[in-house]
Symmetry: C2
Subunit: 583 residues, 2 copies
């Protein structure tokens, strides 16, 4: 099936298919979503109004047999940050959309009758909208159960929103089902679930039954590059050993030792309770409980890292995915909750309601700072999330994220940039990640330029995390590389190998070359990254963002973080040099 752009107008319900324009031939994932949003969405429009567009795009290698290439990019103007936004997730949707030939699914305008709710059906050669009043107000688990009852559980994938997205809450996520058809892989950041809700789309059914793997233009070259890539991933200690064994939460102890683990709403950088919720303890607990018979798990087919997990309760029954490091930090460390089962309960609630776990943990931390609950009180934290589920005013405040919680409860110690909560790394102890939080086009986001790699894990060299020197160059290079990786459909974790092993980096463009019959080189990857960031930056500028927004909260420059007793030290003038390649 020829690759194409599918456009769905939610006001007229018209569905239009366009051949892929030549200018976007080498765009996928984030490059595709950011190109369409920056070209077609008025930068100053209301994010939940008719002029915003919600774009889904598999990566360039999506739907192929390239290792770990099944991330899906979702883009729009964010109702949380007001910036352009790309949030990507695992799950099965990208592979299926790609095999259906859908390089981008663009959802436009909104229903005049806001009570209408639709499921979109994507099958080979057909795109359909059907009303689904029976799904109204359901969480993601119930939604998927009803979808499975209707569409089956073989060779399918589901994308859906929970009640948070229906209600337009600005921390709402978009859920993609994993290989077990559980709605656990979320495009979490930036409130894209609210945009989907504003368009009246409750779910997308992706039918994988009549399509097959996408075929490369040059089979041999593609196969060779794929093998070289998989081998490099296996050989690197982070992707070949650390992540498969302990999952992303291997970072809990590492960040605690580094003194950069934000504790008690970013008041301290180390916590005595961290060891109780570490990746090692998580690993041992899953094994002791029997799990579902395994530790390592892939969030989508074709994953060769397998850092995902399944969390089971004390009786060995499925509870939720293994909460990721950022979730365990957000709901645990940041709120001083040292109970993995309580954290798993919150992870399940977030996934079901359709909420970004990072934003929720940060917002609950601010709520605790504001006196709504005590730090460490797991039951109170769980009850706060249940308020969102019920749609109470308090729940709506929480569901709108950290800044809204802070505003409503008069808290000024707020760990956000551009309205989005900081993830699990304190910039005062890891200056490089502070540069990324401050300057990325996305609002505070660790994945946009993961300086932890070089500041803490000594991957891709080493830059002292406690000094200002070198952080701007580090963050810039990582942001450029990330924007390119996010366009391929590859999981960002490939970056550990790519940064350290020249053959891994080569394999990335060799896979693309083999697949599309192109002859890209290293420099083309860098240029792609720069092109993506340039589009995003220009959109944000036109939306009213300036250097003044590329700043951490003021208190991070004055309030010292223990144990290093450092503040964020990178000067404003240097921050303004991160995007020096945008003209």
């Amino acid at each position: 099936m020829a690759d194409r752009i599918v456009r769905v107008n939610m006001k007229t319900l018209a569905i239009k298919e366009e051949p892929l324009p030549a200018k976007w031939a080498a765009f996928g994932g984030r490059a595709m979503t950011s190109a369409i949003v920056s070209e077609e969405v008025p930068p100053t429009c209301s994010p939940l109004g008719p002029d915003n567009k919600l774009v889904f795009a598999p990566g360039l290698l999506g739907g192929s047999s390239a290792p770990i290439s099944g991330r899906i990019s979702v883009g729009a103007k964010s109702p949380l940050t007001g910036t352009i936004k790309e949030s990507n997730a695992g799950g099965q949707a990208a592979q299926i959309m790609a095999r259906l030939g859908i390089r981008a699914l663009v959802i436009e305008d909104k229903p005049e009758d806001a009570s209408k709710l639709y499921t979109m059906e994507l099958r080979k050669g057909s795109v359909k909208l059907v009303e689904c009043p029976e799904l109204k107000g359901l969480g993601n688990y119930d939604t998927v159960a009803k979808l499975i009852a209707k569409y089956g559980d073989k060779k399918v994938g589901y994308v859906s929103i929970g009640m948070a997205g229906e209600w337009g809450l600005t921390a709402a996520s978009i859920a993609c089902t994993d290989r077990e058809l559980r709605p656990t892989r979320h495009a979490g950041r930036g409130g894209l679930g609210a945009v989907m809700g504003s368009k009246g789309i409750k779910a997308i059914f992706c039918d994988d039954s009549e399509v097959s793997m996408r075929e490369p233009a040059n089979k041999d070259a593609f196969r060779d590059a794929s093998r070289k890539f998989a081998k490099a991933l296996k050989e690197h200690p982070v992707t070949g050993e650390g992540l498969p064994t302990y999952g992303t939460n291997v970072l809990q102890n590492i960040m605690n030792e580094a003194g950069g683990l934000p504790t008690r709403n970013f008041r301290e950088g180390q916590w005595s309770g961290a060891s109780k919720i570490s990746g090692e303890v998580q690993h041992d607990t899953i094994l002791a409980r029997g799990g579902e018979g395994k530790i390592a798990h892939g969030c989508h087919a074709g994953c060769v890292i397998q850092c995902s997990r399944i969390w089971v309760d004390k009786d060995g029954h499925y509870k939720t995915k293994g909460p990721e490091y950022e979730t365990i930090w957000a709901h645990g460390t940041n709120c001083c909750i040292d109970d993995l089962d309580a954290i798993a309960e919150m992870d399940r609630l977030d996934d079901d309601i359709g909420l970004d776990t990072i934003e929720m943990g940060a917002a609950i931390g601010v709520a605790m700072e504001g006196g709504l609950a005590k730090f460490g009180d797991a039951a109170a934290a769980i009850n706060l999330l249940k308020e969102v589920q019920k749609g109470t005013p308090l729940g709506r405040i929480l569901g709108c994220g950290t800044d809204t919680m802070a505003r409503c409860f008069g808290v000024s110690h707020v760990p956000t940039v551009k309205g989005q909560a900081m993830p699990a790394y304190d910039p005062r102890a890891v200056q490089g990640i502070g540069v990324t939080y401050a300057t990325t086009t996305m609002g505070a986001d660790h994945t946009a330029g993961y300086a932890i790699a070089t500041n803490i894990l000594k991957v891709g060299g080493y830059v002292d995390p406690l000094k200002a020197e070198g952080q701007v160059d580090l963050s810039r290079n990582l942001q450029i590389a990330t924007a390119a990786v996010d366009s391929t459909g590859l999981c960002l974790f490939v970056a550990f190998a790519v940064l350290d092993k020249p053959e891994a980096f080569e394999a990335v463009y060799e896979m693309i070359n083999g697949f599309y019959g192109l002859s890209l080189g290293a420099n083309d990857v860098v240029e792609l990254g720069k092109a993506v960031l340039t589009m995003e930056k220009k959109f944000n500028n036109a939306a009213g963002f300036t250097n003044a927004h590329d700043r951490l909260p003021d208190w991070m420059s004055t309030e010292k973080l223990s144990p290093h007793n450092t503040v964020f030290m990178v000067p404003d003038a240097e921050l303004d040099q991160v995007f020096n390649f945008v003209t």
Copy 2:
């Protein structure tokens, strides 16, 4: 007593008095607050953090016998809009502060123990802070009653915040007592009450007992100019007749006839219920109920317009001030509530809790749009305000204003600019006020450049309200003139006479010349206005505001307003010319 700047540091409790710097000798009111905020507050700081400063400044003519010169300016970085903010009010505080020689009262930093609450005592030759735990959580009426019990009711004035300010709600106002010592005159816009609350100041006691009227440098010149000014105000039909007879709510019928009366959350421009809550009906009702023996009332001593009223209940007992036009529009028209007693109940609640009435009415309109209550349901609207009084989560959402209400309830039809609600004039039917809303340094604000005068009342010439032509020049000139008037302490309503009568304009600078022994001319007034706006604009630019923020909500360019069926038509490129004098 020599004029000076009083600085109070709320962290150290140190009080410092400085001679008035020469550079600020001809600054008062808004010029003074905006100069101090723009020089001393980091533009990107957190508005409720320690780096913000709250500045009170009487106008240049404050404390003198100049007619209607007792407005007080309050300035800070706004927690509602993130912009610089000047909000001014009547009441007695300005006159007393001016007579005490306080040209600016600057409240800096914040207590480390956020539970501390202070009353500031301003007496001749002394400034003191005393803790006042007994006032914690009280509304403005109870606060003032306790202050009167302590400090008396003769030759005093009180400034205070209600619970909204204590809790940091971003629509919190600062109340000043009127001549009857009722907390009815509010610096309402921009959430400055929350800044006062963040500083731990509950109230300011202003002692008028040992000071006398400020004496002019040139008595004869000052007296002559004052008489000339008073005469011009008496002779102008708006200030001499319309406002004294019917109060500001004389505009209800006028705006309804003009088709620019925002109804049902800015869905229509005319309303059948308007005539039931008009200024004429308000006038007749007060007379029929006996009032307190009068219709016309001055919001501060020395007022010669007397547009303020006293509202009494059906039994003739004091209820609240006569709600102003903007309040009657916000709580009435905008929510389709046609009951003056219900509106008065809401006005009283706003004044007591310490909330901006415009922001509350607009936020309730959005709540009604979001399904929280039915349009027209007065009891539901009153109950919403009582939620703020109780500090419930819903109340906190409302108390944070229109944008927060919209965010929490997923409403995208939101009448705000830079986070502040539009007042009682629809830009689609009065294009000039749209230019002011979009471009003023303050967020949507009618007082910043009151184009209604020329678009509707045909004061200062006439510019067709339904055309784009001429609106940018009109708004620019009005914004410049307003910034100057706001610096004098004169009530903005003098502008009606000043715009129409050359001798009224002359009298303004002649009064200043007579009082200070200066020789300013017409051009100096314009230059003062430009200087004030330039400081404000530069602060906002440094805080991250750009042309992209100088826009009305996108739906105002597409959704036609009945009865004229017009949209907002002034092109973006023209809006960007309003501040063409800022270099």
